[in-house]
């Protein structure tokens, strides 16, 4: 069963910049609730005032969700970085995981900054890094 995977980045609108991290958490939480009903998975990163999000699911749900995002004025300079059909989900364990810079350890922050740079240059690699980060984060939570 193949899935559609969509990857985009955007900058937070200036008027919302002061509470960017909070908005990122809200968005991740709200979409996690909505996605669990719609079988959408993915992750949302917020780094240095930029959103970077992966959405996975069936074509209709991914496209409808992305269209909703495109109508959202909290985003600026929204860029579609990758849209492809993949053999399976990468983020099957997360309805919508969040990777917010402000909540991260120093090590994670560095990795997140790398993801941000990679996103526009090599989308697939950036997605893979986000997946790794989440796996590490979960392990950290388990051992803590």
């Amino acid at each position: 069963m193949t899935v559609q995977r969509l990857f985009y980045s955007s900058r937070i609108a200036d008027e919302h910049a002061s509470r960017g991290a909070a908005i990122a958490r809200e968005i991740a939480q709200a979409s996690a609730v909505r996605n669990s009903a719609s079988e959408l998975t993915g992750t949302l990163a917020y780094i240095d005032g930029h959103f970077i999000q992966v959405l996975e699911g069936n074509l209709k749900q991914v496209e409808e969700t992305f269209e909703r995002i495109c109508c959202d004025f909290r985003h600026r300079e929204l860029k579609l970085l990758d849209y492809h059909t993949a053999p399976s989900r990468l983020f099957s364990e997360w309805a919508m995981a969040s990777l917010v810079e402000e909540d991260a350890t120093i090590g994670q922050r560095e990795a997140l900054s790398e993801v941000r740079v990679l996103a526009t240059l090599n989308a697939r690699e950036a997605i893979a890094r986000m997946r790794q980060l989440l796996a590490l984060q979960d392990r950290a939570v388990l051992t803590a």
Binding site: Q4, L6, L59, V62, E63, F66, E67, C70, C71, F73, R76, L78, K79, L80, Y83, T85
Partner: protein, 667 residues
């Protein structure tokens, strides 16, 4: 009390009956029969009910009973009589219809009344006054006919009150005049005892039944009315809305704009008018198909509605053109914010059915009443602003400004002059010689077009070629230049080449190869001495078409060179895909060498690239000796620039080539 009830039943019954009569007259085919049935049942029962209830209230001073059979017959007479009358009312001739139809209805009322009166058994001596009977009949016929006539000529939406009133008059007159004709003399010995209970119960039941029938008629009428209003609302909605996107359409937009302008005159609120035009919609529609284009348009409308404020009107007024009216906006910064939101939201990608489409939009803005007060002016102004936004490079907004009108006027003049220039062939071909650094002799020349306008003097190609491309004139101009350049080159010494620029529009026109072949044939120039110069923009628009055009030209034996190399996008990939013989390094890099390391390395890289791909390399814009030496040193064989020669006319070039080229050398 009973008389009042009878009066009420008479008025309400007439009101409903007239409405039903009207529907009967309006209806056609089978539904006319149904309406007629309903109307006659309703009218018959209310006429009869009025009579019956009034009779219950009538106190003849003697005991009274009703004959059941005759009473029922009187109802049937009323219903059938009205039904026949209604059918006759639909006769085409006005007088015939009114007299026969209305008259029959009047007679039906009368017949019902008198049959009803025979059913009325008073215990006394009953007498009839013939004059009153005749008068009552005349009244019923005349008023009935008048009612139908009024109803037939009634042609507006409101209720036909006159006809209703006439029907009431017909019923009431008949009853009272009829009752005046009726006399009862009590017979001595039969006391005026109370009415029996059975009689009252039966009479009340009959009256109730009559009321129920009239009630049914009323509700039927109301339900039908509601359905009709709904249908009208739906029709109105269809007329004012775009079926694809559900947005309001051009018709609705024009109406709203006109209304706002009318209110403006009376000191109404200001508003902003924005015109939105999608960039790149047509190629997407053409390449990905109309069903896809339709989905994109739906998404565009949804996004537009997100971008505007709640009270703003968004209308689709053309294939890919939308208008926004923002009431209450007189502050340019508010209008700007709105336009920015629209440009932003439409610049985002559209991901639909697994495909990705990048559109973008241009927005023109005008403010009322600051810029104009009438719909026509505002529409013109917003179009000018939109045109300007598109001309400035799309994906942006532009406010209307009176100076734009002037810009547009100048542009129109230029267009008109250019059209005339094409007819009069006001173009001349100039040549800039190309030097071969290996032999230090001229190897050929690049043909350049000049426009000698009698009104404007010499106009630069930079100014008029974009206009010519937009107007489609560039094909004519290009063919002219090609022909003259070939004719000129045929007179040059053997081996000298001529390079001619070809616009992307000309290349995609599909007739490039035949134009080239014709120019070669006319001039007798060897195909190998002609080079076609194209730019990268020609290759990115539609690479399949470009490839085909270039291969056709190449098949003639003509060479192809890529102009302005290095300024476009991923230039490298084109070199592999397209049949290119030569690359020309853009003057902007050459100008910077040798002092600018970046440009120097680009020039070196291009020269090496040419060598490895076995393409010739020409450097353009050589102005200094230092540039010459640097470029020559790094492997560019051919050069052109002011250092050797400016573009010159054909005669000068012939002198350069014919007499001086052997002596000419560069230090």
């Amino acid at each position: 009390m009973l008389v009042l009830l009878a009066a009420l039943l008479c008025v309400v019954g007439s009101y409903v009956s007239i409405q039903l009569f009207r529907r009967t007259l309006q209806a056609g085919g089978g539904s006319r029969f149904h309406w007629c049935f309903l109307a006659s049942v309703c009218a018959g029962s209310s006429i009869w009910g009025t009579h019956f209830i009034a009779m219950l209230g009538y106190q003849p001073g003697v005991p009274v009973t009703f004959d059941a059979t005759l009473t029922i017959i009187s109802v049937v007479i009323a219903i059938f009589g009205v039904g026949i009358g209604l059918f006759l009312s639909t006769l085409r001739n006005r007088w015939f219809g009114a007299l026969c139809g209305g008259g029959t209805i009047g007679l039906a009322i009368a017949a019902m009344h008198y049959v009803g009166m025979f059913a009325y058994r008073a215990d006394g001596i009953v007498g009839w006054l013939p004059n009153y009977v005749a008068l009552s009949l005349a009244c019923a016929v005349v008023f009935g006919a008048l009612a139908i006539d009024r109803l037939r000529v009634h042609d507006h939406e409101g209720h036909p009150w006159t006809a209703t009133l006439l029907l009431v008059v017909a019923i009431v007159m008949l009853h009272f005049v009829g009752m005046a004709a009726f006399t009862v003399t009590p017979i001595a010995g039969f006391g005026s005892g109370p009415q029996s209970e059975v009689f009252v119960a039966m009479a009340s039941a009959i009256a109730m039944a009559a009321l129920l029938i009239v009630g049914t008629g009323i509700s039927t009428y109301l339900v039908e009315m509601r359905t009709r209003v709904d249908a009208q609302d739906r029709l109105h909605h269809i007329a004012m809305h775009d079926t694809l996107t559900g947005l309001q359409n051009r018709h609705a937009f024009n109406g709203k704009l006109r209304r706002l302008c009318q209110r403006l005159v009376k000191g109404g609120p200001p508003f902003a008018l924005l015109m939105v035009d999608l960039d790149r919609f047509k190629p997407i529609n053409d390449s990905l198909g109309h069903p896809f284009g339709d989905k994109v348009l739906k998404a565009v409308s949804a996004r537009l509605q997100e971008a505007v404020r709640d009270n703003d009107m968004v209308a689709r007024i053309g294939g890919d053109e939308f208008a926004v009216i923002a009431p209450g906006v007189d502050d340019p910064s508010v209008a700007r914010l709105l336009a920015e939101r629209i440009v932003e939201v439409l610049s985002r990608p559209f991901v639909i059915s697994g495909q990705v489409a990048d559109l973008g939009a241009s927005v023109g803005i005008t403010l009322a009443p600051a810029d104009g007060k009438d719909a026509e002016t505002l529409t013109q102004q917003v179009d000018i602003a939109l045109y300007h936004a598109k001309n400035e490079g799309r994906g942006r907004h532009c406010f209307f400004d009176p100076s734009l009108t002037e810009t547009l006027r100048e542009r129109r003049l230029l267009e008109a002059d250019l059209r005339r220039a094409c007819m009069r062939e006001e173009f001349e071909v100039y040549f800039q010689p190309i030097l071969d650094t290996a032999t230090r002799e001229f190897a050929g020349a690049e043909a350049l077009v000049r426009w000698h306008s009698p009104e404007r003097g010499v106009v630069s190609p930079v100014l008029f070629i974009p206009v010519a491309e937009e107007l489609g004139l560039v094909t004519t101009i290009g063919a002219l230049v090609l022909e003259r350049a070939c004719a000129e080159a045929a007179t040059w010494p053997d081996g000298m080449t001529v390079a001619v620029n070809v616009s992307p529009v000309q290349m995609m026109g599909g007739r490039l190869a035949s134009t080239v072949a014709q120019a070669l044939h006319k001039s007798g120039l060897e195909p190998g001495r002609l080079e076609i110069e194209i730019t990268e923009t020609a290759l990115v628009t539609d690479d399949e078409l470009a490839l085909r055009a270039l291969e056709e030209v190449r098949a003639l034996g003509v060479k192809i060179s890529l102009d302005d190399f290095g300024t476009g996008y991923s230039s490298l990939s084109y070199l592999h895909r397209f049949p290119i013989d030569r690359i020309k390094i853009d003057a902007s890099f050459v100008n910077q060498v040798p002092h600018d390391p970046g440009s120097a390395s680009i020039v070196r890289a291009i020269a090496q690239l040419g060598e490895s791909l076995q393409m010739e390399v020409t450097a353009e814009g050589i102005e200094t000796d230092a540039q010459y030496s640097y470029v020559a040193e790094h492997g560019c064989r051919h050069m052109q620039g002011f250092l050797f020669s400016r573009p010159v006319d054909a005669a000068t070039l012939a002198r350069l080539f014919g007499t001086h080229e052997k002596n000419r050398s560069v230090a």
